[in-house]
Each structure stands twice: as structure tokens, then as C-alpha cells.
């Protein structure tokens, strides 16, 4: 288990850092911290790893306060962004190295390294040097090296950024499988929101050093706590509106929209959001919140088609795998409309 309590850190003469972070990763859980560059996610990782010491707050591993321990004493398995394999050692030498520095005898450490290499499917490459491996293989060696000494947790720093786009998909699946197989508590940072949603049991969104939301992927996507989170996680349509009552809002271009029951006060100005794939083109007559629409641009994206539609003066984007040829009306299903303070 990893727990951060009121963690505060900023670099000298700079406001860049992380501010009052509280975060918990349960034993065996896979948490993904997602944020743009400069959001503080790398700082957070370094604070947990022990490369940085927080100015305030505590870092706990399995209920033990490790805030003042050096990185070497924390017993964490770290996979850096570019893997940092030791080029002059073989794959076996790399994976066995954490045991070597702990004084494990050669026979024993080779046995354990070979076992873990077998688990990640690299037993045939133990005598290769890192430079002879593909990017995906290097990544697996780095993960094996991080797991060989049974770490308290695994920390992954943008593990897919050094891979070709075409290899990323399969390596993501593989990472998820290895994580489940070892049942190791895992914290990964990434800037890729799709990756975060796909891999994380939970996802934490960081922006400018602040933790904006920490929830399960589906909730994060459908019920973001703020406009910033909504924008960051996927494409979104925003519509300004005013609250009419607990189930209706009024908009300038789309008239009165039914929404799911909410707690905003009547008369309050709010911002409504709806995802492009939630909008229904040429809906059946029994669906609520219909409006006439004109297509201003179509983009073919393969699996999806994106339409930019004009409803009054509001531009909406709509995504669908199989949209009708001609779109005349759209519907905004009430359960997919989510409201924010404005």
C-alpha cells in the first residue's frame, strides 16, 4: 500500500511542484496518475521513489512512514521512462543486479532472475545485451529487474513513451497482465488519457501540482468533477445554461433540456457537458432533448466519423461508428448531460 498524506513540494525559487496531495494506492491496485507535462506527476513519482523529500507531509509504504528514508531503503521497484538498463551487462546480469547489491549469492540470484525472466517471456534472451533487444523487450527487462527483489510497490514513469505507436497497444496489454500476475501494488504516471483509462483500476488527474480527481476510469470519464478534468479526459461539448428546476436547464440555442436529477439551485448559471459519442443523430421521436442541426464538417477517422454540427449558434461535435448519411436532428440524452458550476 502506498499512501501520501498532505504532501507539499516545490523546487527552489519556483512555484512548480505538488500541493497538498492526499492519495492512497491499495495493495495490489494499479493506480495511474495522469497529467499534462508540468502538471507535477514526475515530481510526485520522485517524491514516492525517494529521489525528492517533501517539504511537508508524509509518504507511507504498508503503513510505515518512509518520508525520511533514502530511495535505496524504500524497497521500491522503479521503471524509468527510458528504462536505464545497464548496457555492459547481459539481460540476466541486469535482472540479477538488484540481488547482487543486496549480497545474494550468484547461484541463488541467477535462479531468481531466470524465474522472473521466464515469467515475462524473456528466458531465451538472458545472454543478450540490452542494445540487441527491441524497445518492448527492453521494457520487459526493466520491469523484470524492478520485480526481482519483490518490491513493496512498482513505480512506472511513462513506460510507453519510448515505444513506437504500433508496439504500444500490445505492450499495454502485457503490462496489465504482468501486474495482475504478480499482484504488485503499482503506480504509473502518463500524459496519455486513453492509456490511463485503459490500464488503471483507479485514475488520478493532476494539474498544476493539484489533485483534481481520483476515481475509477468510468466515473472519471462520465462524471468529471470539473471542466478541466472533462477537457483533459477525452473530447467534450460544453453548453452554457441556466437551471430551471431539479431536472431541467435552459440553453440559448437548444431550448430547454431535460437532465438527470441534480443539486444545483434554481436560476444558477451552469455549464453542461456532453461527450461527442453520446449525442444521437436523427433520433427516434421518443428520445428527449431534440434539436435541428446542420452539418458543417465531416471527418472520417476510420472506426469513427466525426461531424461538426451547428445548432443555432452552438457548434456540437458528434462521433459515431455508423452515422446516417444526412443528419437533420440530434438528441442529447438526459443521462449523458453532466453539469458544472460556472
Amino acid at each position: 500500500m502506498i499512501a501520501l498524506e498532505n504532501i507539499q513540494f516545490h523546487y527552489p525559487h519556483s512555484s512548480v511542484g505538488v500541493h497538498d496531495i492526499n492519495l492512497q494506492v491499495e495493495t495490489g491496485e494499479f493506480l495511474v496518475v495522469v497529467g499534462a507535462s508540468g502538471s507535477g506527476k514526475s515530481t510526485l513519482l520522485q517524491l514516492i521513489a525517494g529521489f525528492l523529500t517533501p517539504l511537508q507531509g508524509r509518504v507511507l509504504l504498508d503503513h510505515q512512514d518512509v518520508t525520511q528514508l533514502s530511495c535505496g531503503e524504500r524497497g521500491l521497484g522503479i521503471v524509468p521512462q527510458d528504462y536505464v538498463l545497464f548496457n555492459h551487462m547481459t539481460v540476466l546480469g541486469n535482472v540479477a543486479y538488484p540481488l547482487k547489491v543486496k549480497g545474494v549469492r550468484q547461484g541463488e540470484r541467477h535462479r531468481r532472475a531466470r524465474k522472473i525472466l521466464h515469467d515475462v517471456g524473456l528466458e531465451a534472451l538472458e545472454h543478450c545485451y540490452p542494445s540487441q533487444l527491441s524497445g518492448g523487450q527492453q521494457q520487459r527487462v526493466a520491469i523484470a529487474r524492478a520485480l526481482v527483489f519483490e518490491p513493496r510497490a512498482l513505480l512506472l514513469d511513462e513506460p510507453f513513451s519510448a515505444l513506437d505507436a504500433s508496439r504500444r497497444e500490445s505492450m499495454r496489454q502485457e503490462l496489465k497482465h504482468i501486474q495482475r500476475q504478480f499482484g504488485v501494488t503499482t503506480l504509473m504516471i502518463t500524459h496519455d488519457q486513453e492509456e490511463a483509462l485503459m490500464l488503471g483500476d483507479h485514475v488520478a488527474v493532476l494539474e498544476q501540482g493539484k489533485l483534481l480527481q481520483h476515481s475509477a476510469p468510468h466515473q472519471l470519464y462520465t462524471q468529471p468533477v470539473s471542466e478541466a478534468v472533462a477537457r483533459f479526459i477525452g473530447r467534450t461539448n460544453f453548453i452554457d445554461a441556466q437551471v430551471l428546476d431539479s431536472q431541467r436547464i435552459e440553453t440559448a440555442d437548444l431550448g430547454i433540456l431535460e437532465v438527470a436529477p441534480h443539486a444545483f439551485t434554481v436560476g444558477q448559471t451552469v455549464r453542461a457537458m456532453i461527450r461527442p459519442e453520446a449525442i444521437i443523430a436523427n433520433p427516434a421521436s421518443d428520445i428527449a432533448n431534440q434539436a435541428p442541426a446542420t452539418v458543417i464538417e465531416r471527418q472520417f477517422l476510420g472506426a469513427q466519423q466525426r461531424h461538426y454540427l451547428l445548432c443555432g449558434t452552438t457548434t456540437l461535435s458528434l462521433e459515431s461508428a455508423s452515422p446516417p448519411e444526412i443528419i437533420t436532428h440530434v438528441a442529447l440524452p438526459p443521462t449523458h448531460i453532466h453539469l458544472f458550476n460556472r
Binding site: 535505496g72 521500491l76 527510458d82 545497464f86 555492459h88 551487462m89 538488484p98 542494445s131 527483489f149
Partner: protein, 263 residues
């Protein structure tokens, strides 16, 4: 452009060819080229005790200079790269390069001044000569090793190994030494070449019994052309040997740098 290179080349190699011609020529007086082909100049250089001893002195001097340089530079570069803050690194770099900027004549005179006093009467001692050579060659080894380590992943390795709990001596032995030994080797060959050819400082601070080869060589310039050429060729060959070897090793290693050596 090619023309300039060729001209420069001729200009550069012509004197060396001349040396060869002179050394192997039997008679050379008032003719364009010497007459006859002979080994005798080389034999007479070899037979003179002064030259043989000087050659031995030079080799011992070069070897000692290399060893002391390695013992100083290897830990220093490790410390500078990993322990010094950025400003201290810049200053160290500047200071280490100082002996290159200071004319050797000045270094030599400063040595005379310092070590001919009653308090430190070491002028002419072989160890002072070694110290002088170390001062003059140190920057080259330091710079070679430092530039190599700066371009290496040492800092990332260190961080990784720290996170795995490796102690400083383990990181030094397991990670730093394997990264550094090749540039230490090529840098040392350069140091040897420089030490072998060093005249200016040696001429000022070497004692009568510890004169290295270049200092003895300059006296040969006033003897017969053949003898002088042969004596000079000894020095040239030795210096070029080390330099070329260093360059070749660098090239070989450069080419195969992606294929690393085993543990």
C-alpha cells in the same frame, strides 16, 4: 576545397619525407638528395649510451606519468560529475584546463623558481620531472575522460543503482569503471605520446642524469645531418605510434559502441 587539403598535406608530409630521406641517406652535402642507402645512422644513435639512456628515461617517464594521471583523474572525474554542483563543475573545468593556456615556458620557469630554493632543492630530481609532465598532460586525460562520461548514461545509472540500494563503492566498481575504462585507455595513450615528445618543460627542469630523449635530441641537431635525422625519427615514430594507436582504438570502439563488452 580539396586543393587546400592536398596542399596542406604536401606541406605537412614533405618535411617528414625529408627526415626519412636524410636518415637513410649515406652522404648528403650540397646535393638535392643524398646518395646511397644505409642503416648506419640508426646504429650509431643506438650505440651512444647517452641516447639509449635518454630513450629509457623517456619511456619510464611516460609510463609513470600515465599511471599517476590515471590515479588522479579516475576518481576526480567521478567526483566532479556526481558530487559537484553545476557552478563548481564549470570552475573545475576551467582550472583543470589552465596548464594548456599557460605557456610551458612559464610553467618551467615557475618550477625553476620554486624548486631551486634552499627549502625545496628538488630541481633535477626525477620526481620533479614526473610532476612537471603530470601537470602538462593532466588536462588532456581529464578532458577525454570527462567528455566521455558527460556523454554517458552515468547519472541515470547512478540513480537507478541508488534506488536499488547499491552502496557508493558498488556503483563506482560496477557502473562507473565499466563506463570509463575505454576513454581512460585512449586518453592514457595520448598522455604517453605527449610525454614522449615533451621538450620545453623537460629542458628547463630535468637534471643532467634524468634528461629525457627530446632534450638529448636537440644536441644532435648540431651533428651530421644523417645522425640528426635518424635520432629525430626515433622520437617521431614513438610519438606517432602512441597517437595513431589511440586514434585507432577510439575509432574501433566508436564503431562498435552499440555492442557493449561483457560484464
Amino acid at each position: 576545397m580539396r586543393l587546400i587539403t592536398y596542399c596542406y598535406l604536401v606541406y605537412l608530409l614533405a618535411p617528414i619525407v625529408l627526415l626519412l630521406v636524410g636518415a637513410f641517406g649515406d652522404q648528403w652535402s650540397n646535393t638535392l638528395l643524398p646518395e646511397g642507402l644505409t642503416w648506419r645512422w640508426f646504429i650509431s644513435v643506438w650505440e651512444e649510451t647517452t641516447y639509449r639512456n635518454a630513450m629509457l628515461t623517456t619511456l619510464k617517464l611516460a609510463l609513470t606519468t600515465c599511471l599517476i594521471n590515471i590515479l588522479l583523474v579516475v576518481p576526480l572525474v567521478y567526483g566532479v560529475t556526481l558530487k559537484f554542483p553545476a557552478v563548481a563543475q564549470s570552475i573545475t573545468r576551467l582550472l583543470v584546463m589552465l596548464p594548456v593556456a599557460v605557456p610551458q615556458l612559464v610553467i618551467g620557469f615557475a618550477f625553476i623558481l620554486a624548486f631551486s630554493t634552499a627549502m625545496l632543492p628538488w630541481l633535477g630530481s626525477p620526481w620533479l620531472l614526473v610532476a612537471g609532465h603530470v601537470v602538462v598532460t593532466f588536462p588532456y586525460l581529464f578532458y577525454t575522460v570527462y567528455a566521455d562520461i558527460e556523454a554517458s548514461p552515468l547519472k541515470a545509472y547512478e540513480r537507478m543503482a541508488q534506488s536499488l540500494g547499491a552502496a557508493e563503492w558498488q556503483r563506482f566498481v560496477h557502473l562507473y569503471l565499466p563506463l570509463v575504462y575505454r576513454s581512460v585507455f585512449t586518453g592514457s595513450l595520448t598522455v604517453a605520446a605527449l610525454s614522449i615528445g615533451e621538450f620545453e618543460l623537460s629542458n628547463l627542469i630535468s637534471g643532467f642524469m634524468t634528461q629525457p630523449y627530446p632534450v638529448v635530441l636537440i644536441q644532435a641537431f648540431y651533428r651530421t645531418t644523417g645522425f640528426a635525422c635518424a635520432a629525430t625519427l626515433f622520437l617521431l615514430s614513438l610519438a606517432l605510434l602512441f597517437s595513431l594507436f589511440s586514434t585507432l582504438v577510439q575509432w574501433r570502439l566508436g564503431r562498435s559502441s552499440s555492442r557493449e563488452l561483457p560484464q
